[in-house]
Every structure is written in structure tokens, then in C-alpha cells.
């Protein structure tokens, strides 16, 4: 039995001087296997061609379509309408700069985050095209991959109490990114180097432990474990620093 779905969608075009923030309502008949990707595209094509939203891979891999669905941040592409009530409210992710309607600019924030955590393998080794690759334990490689599965959708920071209060907070995504390099034997940074990046209120000490980041992560990353691990390691590095014979 087909339902009629009522979508209440946030509307605002910052580039249009006559636009004011408001909510528009659209009604759509539900079809089999309908996702918000299908629904939003149909609304755009059949009812309002100016409606702004972002999809890219539409397969849960790229993270483009994060939005707030009935009050909860998530990926629109794999949100099925049959799991939602007849009334569906869609809002853009908070925290990020609004581009228009449901579209936000996550790219600028994540690029900045990558620069802040210096998100690359720090090593002095020159690549030698004639040599064999450096060996690595497969279990370590798989552990790194588990943390590298972040898709930069922004759900974790959008759901974060600290991020809402202090825009310079690195957020779960930033701390998880650093944890990935702490784990990587190719990265030669010392604990002090890492501490300099996250040993502050913008990093590990800013987190209030509300756990929303992990609750809403569409890839189910162990975000709080990473934060805990970093705090423990950084704390240990801090104590070592207090001992004069260990100080570097």
C-alpha cells in the first residue's frame, strides 16, 4: 500500500537577496525501495528544479549527502523512506557553511583539518623505485584501514556538542585521522609531535564525552576508542615530560 510522504525541507539561498530561511512542503507517492536519493531527485525534477542538495556516489561511499533527517545527522543516500514516518523533515548539517537549502560546504573544513593534523606520513625516507616495498604486517595494515574508512561526511562534528560551542575543535574526524597516523609504523612523528597538535582544548581535551559522534557515524567507526587511546598516549607523554631525565 503506497503512502503519500510529506517532506518539510529547509530552504534558503544565501546568494539570493530576496531569499529568507523557511520550510517548504512537498508531497510524494512512495515507491518500492525508495531512498532519500530517489525522493529528493524526484522532487527536484517534478516540483522544484531549484532545490539544492548534494549527492555524488549515492552508494554510501563518498559522504556527500549527509543531512539532518528527522532530527538526526545521516547519509541521505542509504536512508530508506520505509524506515521513516509519513512526515519527513530535512535540514542541512549544522556547523558547516551553508551553500543553499540542504547543501553545505564540508570540503573547506576537512581540507583545513588535514592541514592542521598534518595528515600525511612523516618520514625522511626517499622512495626508491628500484627497491622492493617496505614490508608491513598484514594485521597492522588492516588496523590502519579500519580507521581510514572515514568518509568525511561531517555527521560526527555536526552532532558534536563541543564543535557547536567552539568552531576550532578538531572533532572526532580530526582525532580519528591523527590516530590513524599514530598507528602507522611508517610515520616517524614522536608522541610530543602529536601532543603539539592535539594536546589542547581544540583537540583531545575539548571532548565532553557525549558520544554523539560515534552514535551517528554512518561507517560505525570506533571514534570514542580513538579519542580514549589518544588521551591515554598523550597523558603518558605528558608525564614523561615532567621527568627531567626523560625530557627531550
Amino acid at each position: 500500500m503506497a503512502r503519500n510522504l510529506t517532506f518539510s525541507i529547509f530552504r534558503y539561498n544565501p546568494q539570493d537577496p530576496v531569499s529568507v530561511p523557511h520550510t517548504d512542503t512537498f508531497v510524494l507517492d512512495e515507491t518500492n525501495h525508495m531512498t532519500l536519493f530517489i525522493a529528493l531527485n524526484r522532487i527536484r525534477e517534478e516540483q522544484d528544479p531549484g532545490l539544492q542538495f548534494d549527492f555524488c556516489c549515492r552508494a554510501g561511499i563518498c559522504g556527500a549527502c549527509a543531512m539532518v533527517v528527522n532530527g538526526r545527522p545521516g547519509l541521505a543516500c542509504h536512508t530508506k523512506t520505509k524506515d521513516l514516518p509519513d512526515a519527513i523533515t530535512l535540514m542541512p548539517l549544522p556547523f558547516f557553511t551553508l551553500v543553499g537549502d540542504l547543501s553545505v560546504d564540508t570540503g573547506t573544513w576537512f581540507r583545513n583539518m588535514a592541514q592542521r593534523v598534518r595528515s600525511w606520513v612523516h618520514t625522511d625516507k626517499e622512495f626508491d623505485p628500484k627497491a622492493l616495498e617496505e614490508r608491513m604486517d598484514n594485521a597492522v595494515a588492516e588496523e590502519i584501514y579500519e580507521l581510514e574508512r572515514c568518509i568525511e561526511c561531517g555527521c560526527c562534528v555536526a552532532a558534536c556538542g563541543t564543535a557547536i560551542m567552539r568552531p576550532d575543535f578538531l572533532g572526532a574526524a580530526g582525532l580519528n585521522r591523527l590516530a590513524r597516523f599514530v598507528l602507522d609504523p611508517r610515520d616517524k612523528r614522536t608522541e610530543q609531535d602529536y601532543f603539539d597538535i592535539v594536546g589542547n582544548d581544540q583537540g583531545i581535551f575539548g571532548c565532553m564525552g557525549l558520544l554523539a559522534c560515534e552514535d551517528v557515524c554512518p561507517k560505525h567507526l570506533p571514534l570514542q576508542d580513538q579519542l580514549g587511546m589518544l588521551r591515554w598516549k598523550m597523558g603518558w607523554a605528558g608525564i614523561m615530560n615532567l621527568l627531567p631525565w626523560k625530557r627531550k
Binding site: 531549484g50 554510501g60 570540503g107 588535514a114 584501514y145
Partner: protein, 609 residues
């Protein structure tokens, strides 16, 4: 209007674009990448399988070498590739993989000892050697003689792209995301940059560059049903074609994958059938054995896609609000198998369809998957027709894939080609200076500004952009899909020409202000229809079947007349592309022979003595 100036302008910031960018940045040049989306959302991130490189580390890859990889690649291309390029690719792939390891890709590694694997649904055992422990391992892929595909779990594209982007950040490569290139700036001889629309504000910008690179990926989104990301609409190819002097190569070579899920066309892996999954019709009858008694569902991709389409044409598809489809049945494989060996498929079914594949049938249909064609370049990645214009990755017809590319060769191509072309771009930047004529730049920008104004004011008509796009979809799916024949292709070309006329009469229904999506499509659609016409006209003229190009009225591969690459250019104002042809290869390390799968008769080339 904002104007940016840089040494290298990469249009596209996926793996190919960023790999070239990194090479130039490492050599000390200014680089700016343009991207429709944040760089890490590029379609490269969606590749799950892996990258082929003949490292020969794992037990099933023992004895592998670039020579064996080369032979697989040439056969896979159905002798349509440039053999010099295929050789360059195979020789350099191991270096590229090792370099990625040094930059941070967590490749899966060899674990010594005994383990089991499935082949054709049967269990086998293998033993990995102690001395190879910790080296990059590989998995099996279709059409390869050895296990050669390097991978990181089922997220290879994701990890490689993130590592690449990390490297780009480290080297100070600038990425401008949420922007779209609307035209190249050129004087008929030299490429000088691009006119670009910002997709955050809607404003036009000018980018001037000594070298411009097109690395915008495939153009699958000219088809209604595609596994491609929604951004793969051929933007880079359109601006190249619109120069009138840069040819696109082999646009008729389009690969279809048998099992895209309905409705969203997300791919479920070939592994489903490899492990014993079957295809059923609306009567839940297993039909593949009727057509291919021996191989059934395990015939090659193009063969299975063709029979599925044939079967639906007989009225045996399952009707749905999204069109007809067939069923993929993996219920009998059991929960245990699905949760471990086909974890990704299990998740896709649950996340996107809301069904449990251990209990329910999966709706599938053949879906456009890969474009072998693209901006025709020489072996250095330099585009034909304009100085200072390069291309790499799926957007390019470099051309190592010929008429059917092998799995695991496309993701590898992005990085290997990026490495090789990047070095050539650096050489070019060292040797060449350009000057930028201001009048010319102003004209190109004004031209785009004028298009935007006319669309918003409905100066040329009131055609609905979505209706016109759907007409393109219908024409292409019907005439230039999996099966092709003269009659349908002629009708397709004619319809597409009418659709092309209609694209000139589009008027917006919305106000077009800011990052307006209707305006973005309206600006792009005429070019998309021109790409569709290059596909259809190229397919109509090519009276043979080769690789993915299957003509019902010309079922044989014709080496006598068609051992050539199609080159399509578009003269400004012309109703159709101009087609020229060149030999597929200057070098013949392996003379044309059987592909080893897919069957079909071959008309041999005349002896040249």
C-alpha cells in the same frame, strides 16, 4: 570576475588529476586542481576491487611479470589498444604501487601459511611463502592469468585516494572544490586555461594556465542507468570536444556490467555469480543455461549483459516503477557465506534496498559501467589538436583499454598514467611559455555569461531541462546500449539530433541564482547530447563487433577493416561529429588473435606483404 593564474590547471581532482598535480608540485610548479566536489569525494573513492600490478608476491601470482600483464591487457582490449601504451602501463604499475605504499596506502600484505579460497563455487587451498611475508599481496580478477590485483580490503579506491590527497596537501597543491569548468580557453592552437562556474556562489571565474589537464573521469551519466557517481557527466570531454579541434577517441566503446541493483544502479560484485549466484526472470526461471549451457552466469560481463537484455526484450523481465529488471538469487549461499565472503553485497542489499539477500531476491539489470573512450592523447598524455592540453585517467583515451577494459586495470591506470603523464607535464612546463591575449579571454568568459543570461531569461525557449535530458536517456538506452544494430542506431542518431536542437531552447523554471542546480544541468546538457551523438554515430559507422561494442547485424570482429580507432571532432555549429580513423597501434608486440572468451568469428587482417 575573479582570475586565477597557475602553471598547471588540473580539471578534476580524482586519482589521475591529483597524481599529475603531485608530480608537478614536487617539481616546484604552481598547481591548482578544480573539482565538482571535495577532492576526496571523487568517483575514484568508490572503486572497491583493486589495482593490477605484476608484483608476483602472492602464491597465486607466482611467475607473474609485466609481460604476462601486458598479454592479458592486450587480449582484454580485443586488440583495440595501443600496445606501446599498454607496455608502458604494465612496466610502471609495480613502481606506482610501491610508491603508494611508501606514501601511506595500507595495502593488504602476504600472510605466510595455508589458506582456502573459492573458485567457481568450489573450495581450494593455497600456501603463501614465508619469504614473501609482509609484501603487497593480490587477489583474483576476471581476464587475468595470475592473481595480480593489489587491494586494501574492499576499499581500495578510498584508501588510495585519501593517501593521494594527503600527499597533495603536503605538497601544497591547491584544490578549488565545488566548481565546474564550462569551456576551455584556446586560440585554436594553444590551450590557455578554462572558464569556470563556482558551484557555491554561481559566479564565473577565469583560470589561466600554461598547461591544462583534463582528468574528469567517465561520462556514464549520459545513460539513465549507470554505476557511475552522479558527477560523471563528461564535463571534461565536453569542453575538449567544444574546441572543435580536439578529438575524442573510441566513444562507442562503452562497458556494461550485468548486476547493477534497481533502482539506484549501485553495483553488486561479479563475485555473487562467481560464488554460485544465479539469474532469474519474472517466472523465477533460471534462464542463462538456456543461452550459454556451459558457462551460464559465469560467461564474460559483456556476454551476460547481452543475454539479460535479450531476455527482457522477450517480455520476461520483472516490471517495476523504475523499468524492467531481473532477479539475482544468492539465497542458497547461506547467511554465513554472505556475512563473510560477500559482506559488501549483504550491506548494500540491507542499506539501499532494505532486503535480506539470504531470504530475498535482488533486483538487478545491466548497467553502464565504464567508458573506454575519452580525450584522445598520445603516449605522453598530450591531447591531439591543442598544445598545452593533457588528459589522463578514464577521461582520456590513452589508450590501454581498447574495446573492453579488464577489472583492476582502470584504477591502476589513474595512478600509473598520472605518474607517467605527470613527468611529461613537468618537461613541458620547463620548456614552454605562453602569453594570454586579454581579448580572447574576455570573449570566452562573455560567451558563457551570455548563455547563463539567456537560460535565466528564457530567451531561446521554454524547454524543460529534465524532459530534454530524459529524451536523451531514452534514445541512448534504446539505440546505443548493450546490443546495437544499424536500424536502431540510425533512429538513435536522428532522435539525438532532434534532442540536441531542443537543448538550444531550454529555459529555466527556477530563478537560476547562486548554486542553482537547474542552471548547472542546462549548461551541461547540450554537451552531454553531443557526447551521446559521438557514441551513437561512432557505433553506427563501426560495422563490426569488438569487445563491448556488439553489433547484431555485424557479429564478427573485423580486423580487415576495423583495426582502427575512431576519432570524433565537432565543428562549431555542426549537426553531427566528424569521424576520422587512425590505426589502433603503431607497434605490434602481439599480433591480433583470439580473446579466449566471448566467442564470435574473426575476419583476419589482410597480410601486409
Amino acid at each position: 570576475m575573479q582570475t586565477f593564474q597557475t602553471d598547471l590547471l588540473c580539471i578534476g581532482a580524482g586519482l589521475a588529476g591529483e597524481r599529475v598535480a603531485i608530480e608537478a608540485a614536487a617539481a616546484g610548479f604552481d598547481v591548482t586542481c578544480l573539482s565538482l566536489v571535495p577532492a576526496r569525494r571523487s568517483h575514484s573513492s568508490a572503486a572497491q576491487g583493486g589495482m593490477q600490478a605484476a608484483l608476483g608476491n602472492c602464491a597465486m601470482g607466482e611467475g607473474d611479470s609485466p609481460d604476462v600483464h601486458f598479454e592479458d591487457t592486450v587480449k582484454g582490449s580485443d586488440w583495440g589498444c595501443d600496445q606501446e601504451v599498454a607496455r608502458l602501463f604494465c612496466d610502471n604499475a609495480p613502481i606506482a604501487m610501491r610508491q603508494l605504499a611508501a606514501w601511506g596506502v595500507p595495502w593488504n600484505r602476504v600472510v605466510p601459511g595455508k589458506s582456502t579460497y573459492f573458485k567457481g563455487g568450489k573450495l581450494f587451498e593455497k600456501e603463501e611463502k614465508q619469504e614473501k611475508e609482509g609484501l603487497i599481496t593480490a587477489r583474483a580478477f576476471g581476464g587475468t592469468a595470475k592473481w595480480r590485483t593489489c587491494y586494501t580490503s574492499d576499499g581500495t579506491g578510498h584508501t588510495v585516494l585519501y593517501t593521494m590527497d594527503n600527499r597533495a596537501v603536503q605538497l601544497g597543491v591547491v584544490v578549488h572544490d565545488k566548481v565546474e569548468a564550462l569551456s576551455l580557453i584556446h586560440d585554436g592552437e594553444n590551450c590557455l586555461g578554462a572558464v569556470v562556474r563556482c558551484l557555491k556562489t554561481g559566479e564565473l571565474r577565469v583560470y589561466l594556465a600554461r598547461v591544462t589537464l583534463i582528468a574528469t573521469g567517465g561520462f556514464g551519466r549520459i545513460y539513465r542507468e549507470s554505476t557511475n557517481a552522479v558527477i560523471n557527466d563528461g564535463g571534461g570531454l565536453i569542453i575538449a570536444l567544444d574546441t572543435g579541434v580536439v578529438p575524442l577517441g573510441n566513444m562507442e566503446a562503452v562497458q556494461f556490467h550485468p548486476t547493477g541493483i534497481v533502482p539506484t544502479d549501485i553495483l553488486v560484485t561479479e563475485g555473487c555469480r562467481g560464488d554460485g549466484g544465479t539469474l532469474l526472470d519474472k517466472n523465477e526461471h533460471r534462464f542463462m543455461p538456456d543461452y550459454e549451457p556451459d558457462k551460464s552466469e559465469l560467461a564474460s560481463r559483456d556476454v551476460v549483459s547481452r543475454w539479460m537484455t535479450h531476455h527482457m526484450r522477450q517480455g520476461l523481465g520483472v516490471p517495476s516503477p523504475y523499468g524492467d529488471h531481473l532477479w539475482l538469487d544468492i539465497r542458497h549461499l547461506g547467511c554465513q557465506h554472505l556475512a563473510t565472503k560477500l559482506r559488501e553485497v549483504d550491506e548494500i542489499c540491507k542499506n539501499f534496498l532494505g532486503i535480506d539477500p539470504s531470504k530475498n531476491l535482488i533486483p538487478v539489470r545491466p548497467t553502464q559501467h565504464y567508458s573506454m573512450g575519452g580525450v584522445r592523447t598520445d603516449k605522453d598524455g598530450l591531447a591531439y589538436g591543442l598544445k598545452g592540453l593533457f588528459s589522463a585517467g578514464e577521461a582520456a583515451c590513452w589508450d590501454m583499454h581498447g574495446f573492453n577494459r579488464l577489472g583492476g586495470n582502470s584504477l591502476a591506470e589513474t595512478v600509473v598514467a598520472g605518474m607517467i603523464v605527470g613527468a611529461k607535464v613537468v618537461d613541458y612546463l620547463r620548456d614552454h611559455q605562453v602569453s594570454y591575449p586579454t581579448g580572447l579571454i574576455r570573449d570566452f568568459a562573455a560567451n558563457q555569461q551570455d548563455r547563463i543570461k539567456r537560460l535565466i531569461s528564457k530567451a531561446d525557449g521554454k524547454e524543460n531541462v529534465f524532459t530534454v535530458r530524459n529524451a536523451m536517456y531514452d534514445a541512448l538506452m534504446h539505440g546505443a546500449g548493450i546490443f546495437r544494430n544499424g536500424k536502431d542506431l540510425e533512429a538513435c542518431v536522428q532522435t539525438l539530433q532532434e534532442v540536441h536542437e531542443r537543448t538550444n531552447k531550454i529555459g529555466l523554471r527556477s530563478n537560476g541564482r547562486g548554486a542553482n542546480p537547474e542552471l548547472a544541468l542546462a549548461l551541461r546538457l547540450p554537451g552531454m547530447v553531443r557526447l551521446a551523438l559521438c557514441v551513437a554515430q561512432g557505433a553506427l559507422q563501426r560495422t563490426e563487433s569488438r569487445g563491448s561494442h556488439a553489433r547484431e547485424d555485424y557479429p564478427e570482429r573485423n580486423d580487415r577493416d576495423w583495426l582502427v580507432r575512431t576519432l570524433a571532432t565537432w565543428q562549431p555549429g555542426a549537426p553531427l561529429p566528424t569521424l576520422n580513423y587512425e590505426p589502433v597501434s603503431q607497434v605490434w608486440s602481439i599480433p591480433p588473435g583470439e580473446r579466449g572468451y566471448g566467442g564470435g568469428k574473426i575476419i583476419p587482417a589482410d597480410p601486409k606483404e
